[in-house]
Every structure is written in structure tokens, then in C-alpha cells.
Amino acid sequence: MIFMEEKISFIKDGLRLDGRRAEELRPIKIEVGVLARADGSCYVEMGKNRVIAAVYGPREVHPRHLQEVTRAIVRYRYNMASFSVEERRRPGPDRRSHELSKVGREALEPVILTSYFPRSVIDVFVEILQADAGTRTAGINAASVALADAGIPMRSLISSCAAGKVGGEIVLDPMKEEDNFGDADMPIAMTPAGEITLLQMDGGLTIDEFHEALELARSGCRQIYEVQRRVLIEKYGQLEGERGERTEVATCD
């Protein structure tokens, strides 16, 4: 891209470059159980992001010295495919993917009941097939559904979404152009009850803008949670026949 930072107008008549409103998410698609060999798996599309997550375990820990006597350890690997971005990315781990692996693990670990499986490991692999800003959030969303699919006991699912500041306005779920030329980007992850397990920010926001962005990102997470939950239920729901009439199960808000 050529330098055109100040000239480009990100919002025209209340609509963004791709026609979304400021508080609108990109279209989401989630599929569960896409891999036969993994214990749990999930494929997520958020706009032009395409992410696949696989969960293995609980299983024996290798190498042995990582093992914990009283609980399971969680390993989370975030990896971008070399073809996931416009310019070929050098394969292999780098500073950025190390960081995203760490924050991804820390976003999910608080809800996993690791004490149920001492001396074992739960492996989570997140592969970014196509990137368009917001891959860490898409990866966490996919990993959370894949963990549920693997039958791992969790306090709740985790949903993740970013908010940013573009052209002076707070917007939900920035896409690549907005992320590259915007003023701030703030990804969060949270439980449906609203407990935050990931909060990062780069760029600059005033305190008021921060609170506005946080509230917007939370509303995005709640929308994503509804999709995650629906997809899991529909995997078995369609086979049941008279589903959907029961109201005894309420989602926790």
C-alpha cells in the first residue's frame, strides 16, 4: 500500500469501507468437528479471516519435565500459514506468534478445569489460513469451540472480539485497512458472564474512548457467543426432532 494515511476517509455517510456500520461485526461462520483425527476441532471465518483449531487430549505429556503433578497443562500454538497474508510470510515461529500463543493460552486456561486431569496435557493448535486483521480473536473463538467439542470440562465458552479507533470513531471488529491505518486496536476475550480473560491494546485512546471501545467489544463478544453456542447445539440438535421448544436452559449473561 502507498502512503495515503490522512487522505483516505474511513467512514462515509455512517458506513465503513466495506459497508458496515460502526458497531457491526463482519459475517461469521463456524463449523464444528471438521477434523477426524483431532479430539475436537473447529473452523471459523470472521470476514476474510479463516482459522482452523484442533484440540488433542488430555494426553500424556512429552517432554516429561513439563508435567504438573496436580493438574493438566495447556499448550496453545498460534501459527500463521506462509500464504495467509499478501506478501509470503517466512514460516516458523517468530516474536509475534510466540506472544499470541501466550495470550491465547491465558485467555482459555481460566475456564478449563485442569485439576480434573493431573499429569496430562491439553494441546490446542490454531492455524491461520487467511488473515485480515483480528486473527488472534478468531483463533481464540475457534479454540474455545474445539475444546468444548473435545469434551473438556470448562466453566464456560470464551468469545473474543476487537474494537478499534478509525478516523476518530470507535468501531467494532476492524478489518485490515482499518487496522493498518487506524489509530488504535483493542482485542478482548471474555466469558458470557462478562469476565475478561484477554485485553490488549495498541495505539492511543483516551479514557472515555477506552470505555466506549471496551463496551463495544463486549457487545461483539456476546454476539459471537450466540453463534458459537448455536453451532454446537445444532450439531446434534437437528437429529433430535422436536427441539427448540424447551426453554429450561438459559444462556448465562
Binding site: R59, R119, A148, M154, L157, Y236, G237, E248, V249, C252
Partner: protein, 225 residues
């Protein structure tokens, strides 16, 4: 079988406002019962249990399982029990006295055996025993494996499903809690048994399964004779 009280839930769903109803696969937070698992919520009696749709087998003492020997040490057989944890079978748990050097004559690497979980400690050291007439090395028949989460369905309420299968198929069937199943009978009967068990695994979450399996067996047997 009454299956109306079943709903699919995901982790975190609120199942009840009454914390006393918390059963297996649930947890209590702020006086409310939440689901821990992705599975079926079962509203039975005064308890709510969540039955998982997937997951690994975690051994519990008293479980009957089928294991495969993966290593032999000085006094133990190390047994794969399709779980994150290995089982240990000590020679003293073998019905007759044997010497350390003769261990591989009775159970070699790769041999399968029926065993009972004797004890599981908090570090997940799993001790097995074969000191029972029904247990011990497997010498004939066939072995198959399904997800351990489908085992309760294969056994049925009070053993109704497995009892029916044994009678209808004219086979001896041993279902391990870890999802491994031993079938023994004549070749044609075993073929049908394996086909039927795989069908049960695939349709474990549907209603009125026992009746449909009875019908399935009637059709299959009809086409054979």
C-alpha cells in the same frame, strides 16, 4: 425408554436455580447450577447430570476395562487402557504365582486382557487386577473400540441393551468402561455384532434406540437366512 428430559447444553449454560440439584458434569456458582460440559443434560429425579458427547476415559476404581500390554518391567505389566494414563498390573495380581522371567509367557507386549481397576490414587497411578474368574488374558474372539461416552448407551438401563444383544446375537460380549469391547461367537454372529455396536455408537444420542436396534437385527437376520 423415557428420553424427553434431555437437552443439549454447552459449558456455562444455567441448568437450575437450585444448587442442590447439581450432579455429574455440573458446577455451582452463585447458587446456580451450570454445565461443565458440552453434552446432554439429564433431568432425572432431583439431580441434573450432564452426559458428555466426547472426551477421554478417566479410570475409576471398580471399572471393568480392556487393556493392551505395551511394556513389561521387572514386576509390572504396563497396560494401555485408551486413556491419558497407563494401567499397571503387578504380578501379584495374577491369579497364579509366576516368576518375573516368565511374565511374557502369560501376557506379551500386544496382548489384550480384561481387567478391573483396583485403585487409582490422586496422581493418577492406576493399579489393575485380573484376580477374578471373568478377567484375564483374551485368547479368542474380536476386539473393537468405541468412544467411552457411548458405553452407558450400549449397556442400556439396567443392562437392557446389552442383554438383548447377547441373546439376539448369540455372542458373548464384554464391554469395558474404557470403550473397548470384546466379542466372541461364530464368525457371522460376530460380524453382525460389530455392525450393530457401531450403529449404536453412531446413533447413541437418538430416541427409542433399543426398539430400532431390535428392528435392525430382525431385518439383518431375515436377509441372512
Amino acid at each position: 425408554m423415557d428420553r424427553i428430559d434431555r437437552t443439549i447444553v454447552v459449558p456455562g449454560d444455567i441448568l437450575s436455580e437450585d444448587e442442590k440439584r447439581s450432579g455429574e458434569g455440573t458446577y455451582v456458582k452463585d447458587g446456580r447450577v451450570h454445565s461443565l460440559l458440552y453434552g446432554f443434560a439429564n433431568y432425572r429425579d432431583n439431580r441434573i447430570n450432564v452426559i458428555p458427547l466426547a472426551g477421554k476415559y478417566v479410570p475409576a476404581s471398580g471399572d471393568h476395562i480392556i487393556g493392551i500390554v505395551k511394556d513389561i518391567t521387572f514386576s509390572n505389566w504396563i497396560v494401555d487402557i485408551s486413556s491419558p494414563y497407563d494401567g499397571l498390573l503387578h504380578i501379584s495380581e495374577f491369579p497364579k504365582r509366576i516368576d518375573s522371567e516368565e511374565m511374557s509367557l502369560h501376557l506379551r507386549i500386544g496382548s489384550s486382557l480384561m481387567a478391573r481397576v483396583k485403585e487409582v490414587d490422586c496422581t493418577m497411578k492406576v493399579e489393575l487386577t485380573v484376580n477374578d474368574r471373568r478377567l484375564g488374558p483374551i485368547k479368542n474372539g474380536r476386539l473393537m473400540e468405541i468412544s467411552h461416552t457411548r458405553v452407558p448407551r450400549l449397556i442400556g438401563k439396567g443392562g437392557s441393551m446389552i442383554g438383548m444383544l447377547k441373546k439376539e446375537l448369540n455372542c458373548n460380549i464384554f464391554v469395558g468402561q474404557n470403550g473397548r469391547i470384546w466379542v466372541s461367537g461364530n464368525e457371522d454372529d460376530m460380524d453382525l455384532a460389530i455392525k450393530t455396536i457401531l450403529l449404536i455408537e453412531k446413533e447413541a444420542h437418538t430416541n427409542g434406540l433399543t426398539d430400532r436396534i431390535v428392528e435392525f437385527l430382525r431385518v439383518e437376520k431375515g436377509s441372512r437366512s
